[in-house]
């Protein structure tokens, strides 16, 4: 697979799942936390990508 973004999303899913099940109990709480983590992974990665865009100067 030659797509960095897709690989990053695929990476984020199991990592978010494991962190969710370590940190939270209860289905509703887990679902909310999972999507919060997944969204954070994706948005922060895109943000970090844009911040690195001008480098190397």
């Amino acid at each position: 697979m030659n797509n960095h973004f897709a690989l990053m999303v695929i990476f984020s899913i199991p990592v978010s799942l494991v962190f969710t099940f370590i940190a939270k109990n209860g289905a509703k709480e887990r679902i909310r936390y999972f999507f919060f983590l997944l969204g954070s992974f994706i948005l922060l990665s895109i943000l970090a990508g844009w911040l690195m865009y001008p480098f190397p100067l």
Binding site: M1, N2, H4, L7, F11, V15, V18, I22
Partner: protein, 139 residues
């Protein structure tokens, strides 16, 4: 005299497993991701941990990751080996079968390595979680 109803919130106290069961859960968790939780009857966690960590490990291999051999010659080699070996038997069986030769020229080589490293590191966290459950520190 009328007596009022006393409402009291009862927080369940997590039970503590015995020393043997705690040790067994930790060793099982180190060998197979999620097995420690299965021994503690935390089946939902066991299934999720096994599925997620195994999927990451094998996806990493599919992405041409390299499994780093036991090599204690330099610090970073030790770290790479420790991260890889964190997956337990997944690592050792794959390594003994000669999987994970790695192809640095492949597009996703670095991604593959990260998948395998993180699978091992997550399993270490999962073992700590099993230990906490066995000690009654969390549910």
């Amino acid at each position: 005299m009328e007596t009022g109803e006393i409402t009291q919130e009862v927080t369940p106290v997590p039970s503590q497993a015995g020393l043997l069961k705690t040790a067994a859960a930790c060793v099982a968790g180190v060998l197979v991701p999620g097995l420690g939780h299965a021994l503690l009857n935390k089946w939902d966690r066991a299934v999720v941990f096994f599925g997620s960590i195994s999927a990451m490990f094998f996806l990493g291999l599919r992405l041409h990751a390299r499994l780093f051999s036991p090599d204690f010659s330099d610090f970073f080699a030790i770290l790479k080996f420790a991260a890889d070996a964190g997956s337990g038997l997944l690592y050792w069986i794959s390594w003994l079968w000669g999987l994970g030769q790695g192809d640095p020229a492949a597009y996703a080589y670095d991604f593959g390595n990260v998948f395998v490293y993180v699978a091992g590191l997550l399993n270490m966290l999962v073992v700590v979680d099993a230990f906490d459950i066995a000690m009654g520190r969390k549910q």
